[in-house]
Structures are given as structure tokens and as C-alpha cells.
């Protein structure tokens, strides 16, 4: 099995890079998109609030697979006439970003809700304005409280990039399927790939524990499940 692994390693490596790329782009862009959307969701009103809510609820309530499907096979119907082609890469990025943003909005919301209302009152009674309160008091705490949930999201996203397979995005899973059928060695290929994912998950998990340690507000340790 080992020689086989060496043989397929380059192609797997290529897939792995794509997987990591999708994961990190999805996560980072999702993060920056989620912060303002989350603030709207928490403190906004009217049309803007409505749009964000509908977006978040729909994306979280429907399968990622269907979302990717619609983007890759459906979007060209609108864009092809305009001369824009939708490559698997593009569709994958769009799909993962839209999906991760929605989930991150919810996780951040949870983090922000953990801040006692009294602190908001205290901030106002010192004379701080709405925006000052949001950026000086709420955001620094809310984001820190969201870290455990967000690192969970990172790990989930890593695994869900495997759905890129469905739209022929050249990530790890796609490579696996191709290699398996080319070499007719299914069990080995999928097992190897499974272990790669497990390894990645483990590394990411340890990394996010470290980040959580460093950024944690003293006195607010989340309970670890042993």
C-alpha cells in the first residue's frame, strides 16, 4: 500500500492544496462578510434586517450540495449570455463562501448574545454612543466568545469541501475518485484519503485550541469535553 501511496501522492497533493485553498478562502472571506451581517442581524431593523435573516435562514436550512449544484449548473444560464463562464473553481468558491458566511453569522450571534445586557447599559451610562458601544465593548468580546464555534466551523468547512467533487472542483475528493477508478484500487485510495482528512482535522483542531488559549478573555474558559 505504501508504494501506491507514493505513486498517487503528487496528484493527491494537488487536490489537497485545492482543498486547503477552498477551506481558508471560504473561512476568511466568510468571516469578514459575517461580522457586518451579524451586527445587522443583532441590531438592525427593517429591510436590511429582513434580507440578512432570509439569507442566513435559507442557506443554513438547505443542503450545501444543492447550493453548489445550483451555482455550478444554474448560474451559467444567466452568465453565459453575458459571456462569463463559470468554472468549477469559481462555483466552488462562491458556494463555500456564501455557505460559510451564513453559518458564521449565526455563531457570532451566539457569541454576542453571551455579553450581558448590563454592559451595554453601563456603556451608555458613561455617555458612549451606539457605535462606540458596538465597537469598543461588544465586538471585542463577541468575537472572542465566538472563537470555539468558529473553529468548529473551520473544521466542518474543511470536510465539506469534499462536496466540491460533485461540481468537478479539483479538490482532494475529486482526485481520490479519479485515482481510485484509474488504478482500480478503491479501498486503499479512499482509506488513504480518509486518513488525510482525519489528520488535517486533528491539526486544525490543535491549532484552534492554541488560538483560543491566546485570545481568550481571562476567566472565560469554555468547558472542555474530555
Amino acid at each position: 500500500m505504501f508504494e501506491y501511496f507514493i505513486e498517487i501522492a503528487p496528484q493527491l497533493g494537488y487536490g489537497l492544496l485545492a482543498t486547503l485553498l477552498f477551506t481558508f478562502v471560504g473561512m476568511v472571506v466568510g468571516f469578514f462578510a459575517a461580522v457586518p451581517l451579524c451586527l445587522i442581524r443583532l441590531y438592525g431593523r427593517g429591510l436590511l434586517y429582513g434580507i440578512v435573516t432570509v439569507y442566513v435562514e435559507l442557506v443554513r436550512g438547505t443542503p450545501l450540495l444543492i447550493q453548489l449544484y445550483m451555482i455550478y449548473y444554474g448560474l451559467p444560464k444567466f452568465l453565459l449570455p453575458l459571456g462569463i463562464t463559470v468554472t468549477p473553481y469559481t462555483a466552488a468558491f462562491i458556494g463555500f463562501i456564501l455557505n460559510s458566511t451564513a453559518y458564521q453569522v449565526e455563531y457570532m450571534k451566539g457569541g454576542f448574545k453571551a455579553i450581558s445586557y448590563e454592559q451595554i447599559e453601563a456603556s451608555y451610562s458613561l455617555g458612549m454612543s451606539r457605535w462606540q458601544t458596538i465597537f469598543t465593548i461588544l465586538v471585542p468580546q463577541g468575537l472572542r466568545f465566538s472563537i470555539p464555534a468558529l473553529s468548529n466551523e473551520l473544521i466542518y468547512l474543511l470536510k465539506y469541501t469534499s462536496l466540491g467533487f460533485v461540481i468537478q472542483a479539483p479538490e482532494l475528493m475529486t482526485q481520490a475518485k479519479e485515482l481510485a477508478s484509474t488504478h482500480a484500487r478503491y479501498m486503499e485510495t479512499y482509506l488513504i484519503v480518509a486518513f488525510i482528512y482525519v489528520g488535517l482535522t486533528f491539526i486544525l483542531s490543535k491549532l484552534s485550541d492554541m488560538v483560543d488559549e491566546r485570545l481568550r478573555i481571562p476567566g472565560f474558559a469554555p468547558e472542555k469535553i474530555r
Partner: protein, 250 residues
């Protein structure tokens, strides 16, 4: 207003749904007075304080600080709030800032002091409440009594004209109430105008200029401590005081 009233409350009303929490409350507070408000739980005492600085905007009524009307839509509410100190039952410290950070933040964010000036003033206030050695600690690392003292320092740093306390010791273990009450007593003796919602009858007896008894959204009785505590005019006042001295030992 032509007199020495620093706080004037006129016909303040607030309802939450069907529940009439405040019913046309009117009273005044003179400069340097210490007013202690007592009454059964849930009778709107906290709401009253929050309506005064508009944390909870009242439904009806008007409030003046000196001659500035807080309830006027055109007033700069943020500016007025700087002159009203508010101390919360559960301390409401900003958890991501140290004790020093908590006291500083209002100074450089709201009063626009330089960071150095803010820091110096903050250290001064923390020393005043006896917490200088703990100033680099985070709220979670401080005891309840220490947290509340930081809360008081934070409000004092803004040089307010009046300080309001919403049950400042109710969330504290009995051994810790002493340190907070001491700070409050010192403040009173230094001449600060204070409105305190509390069960601490001992505090009221030693420091208050007036005791106000509130029930069901009304002010039932209002007078100097000797009068209220020894010979209250209204039956309900005497009933309440009786219950409370049994519980808290007066």
C-alpha cells in the same frame, strides 16, 4: 429652576405591557443630598433609575438634571449621561478590559482625554476606592466586592454631578458588602449627591438625608431617616420596614 434642585422628576410613568411599573412619580433631589429608595422587589425602583438617565425611556413625564431636560428629544443624551454616574447591581464591568481599562475607557472615548491623562485619572480613582494593586486584573479575577468598587470608580472618573446606585450590594456575599458600603459612605460624606436603591437599612440610617418608600409604582412616603424608620406615617411603610429589619437585621 431657581432652587438648589439638581434632579427634578415630574410625573414619570412607565408600563411594560399591561404592567404599570411607574405611575406618575414626582420628586426632587437637592445638591449634596443622599436619598435612599426602599420598597418591595419588582416595584419599579430599578426602572425609575433607568428612566432618569433614559436607559429605559419613560412613557410619560419629564426629568431635569439641573436645568437641562433629559427627556427632551433634542438634548444631547450622551453629554448628559456623562454627568450621571450609574452603578449596577451586577457590576456590568467590561469583561475584556482590566480594572484600569474599565475606568479609563470612558475618559478617552467619551471625555476625549489623552491616553496618558486618562490613565492617570483612572489610577487616581482606583486608588480612591482602594484597588490600586489590582488595577491590572480582569473582572473575572476580582471578587464581587472588588468588581463593584471598580464599577464605582468607573462612574466617579467621569466627574458626575450625581451618582445613582441600583441595589449595589444585593448581588454580593454578606462579607463583601462592607467594603462597598464604606466607599459609598465616604462618597456621601464628601458631599456627592446620591440616589441609592437598596435594602441596606443600616446604610440608610447612618448616611441618608431622606428615605423614600416606593410600592406598586407610587411613592408612598418620603422623609428623613429618623422619621421613616422610627415613626412612619403610613401603615404599609411600617409593615415593609418590619419585614425588612427581620430579614436584614437593619
Amino acid at each position: 429652576m431657581g432652587n438648589d434642585n439638581i434632579l427634578t422628576v415630574k410625573e414619570l410613568s412607565k408600563a411594560f405591557g399591561d404592567n404599570r411599573v411607574l405611575d406618575k412619580i414626582s420628586f426632587t433631589v437637592e445638591r449634596g443630598e443622599v436619598v435612599v429608595i426602599i420598597g418591595p422587589s419588582g416595584t419599579g425602583k430599578s426602572t425609575l433609575l433607568r428612566c432618569i438617565n433614559s436607559l429605559t425611556p419613560p412613557d410619560e413625564g419629564r426629568v431635569w438634571l439641573d436645568d437641562r431636560e433629559i427627556t427632551d428629544k433634542h438634548s444631547d443624551i450622551n453629554r448628559i449621561r456623562q454627568d450621571i454616574g450609574f452603578v449596577f447591581q451586577h457590576f456590568a464591568l467590561f469583561n475584556h478590559l482590566t480594572a484600569l481599562g474599565n475606568v479609563e475607557v470612558g475618559l478617552y472615548k467619551v471625555k476625549k482625554l489623552s491616553r496618558e491623562a486618562a490613565r492617570a485619572k483612572a489610577i487616581e480613582e482606583l486608588t480612591r476606592v482602594g484597588l490600586r494593586e489590582h488595577m491590572e486584573k480582569y473582572p473575572a479575577e476580582l471578587s464581587g466586592g472588588q468588581q463593584q468598587r471598580v464599577g464605582i470608580a468607573r462612574s466617579l472618573a467621569m466627574d458626575p454631578k450625581i451618582m445613582m446606585f441600583d441595589e449595589p450590594t444585593s448581588a454580593l456575599d454578606p462579607e463583601l458588602t462592607g467594603e462597598v458600603l464604606t466607599v459609598m459612605k465616604d462618597l456621601a460624606r464628601a458631599g456627592m449627591t446620591m440616589v441609592v436603591v437598596s435594602h441596606e437599612i443600616g446604610f440608610a440610617r447612618s448616611v441618608a438625608d431622606r428615605i423614600v418608600f416606593m410600592e406598586d409604582g407610587h411613592i408612598v412616603e418620603d422623609g428623613p431617616p429618623e422619621e421613616i424608620l422610627k415613626s412612619a406615617k403610613k401603615e404599609r411603610t411600617r409593615e415593609f420596614l418590619h419585614k425588612i429589619t427581620e430579614l436584614y437585621g437593619g
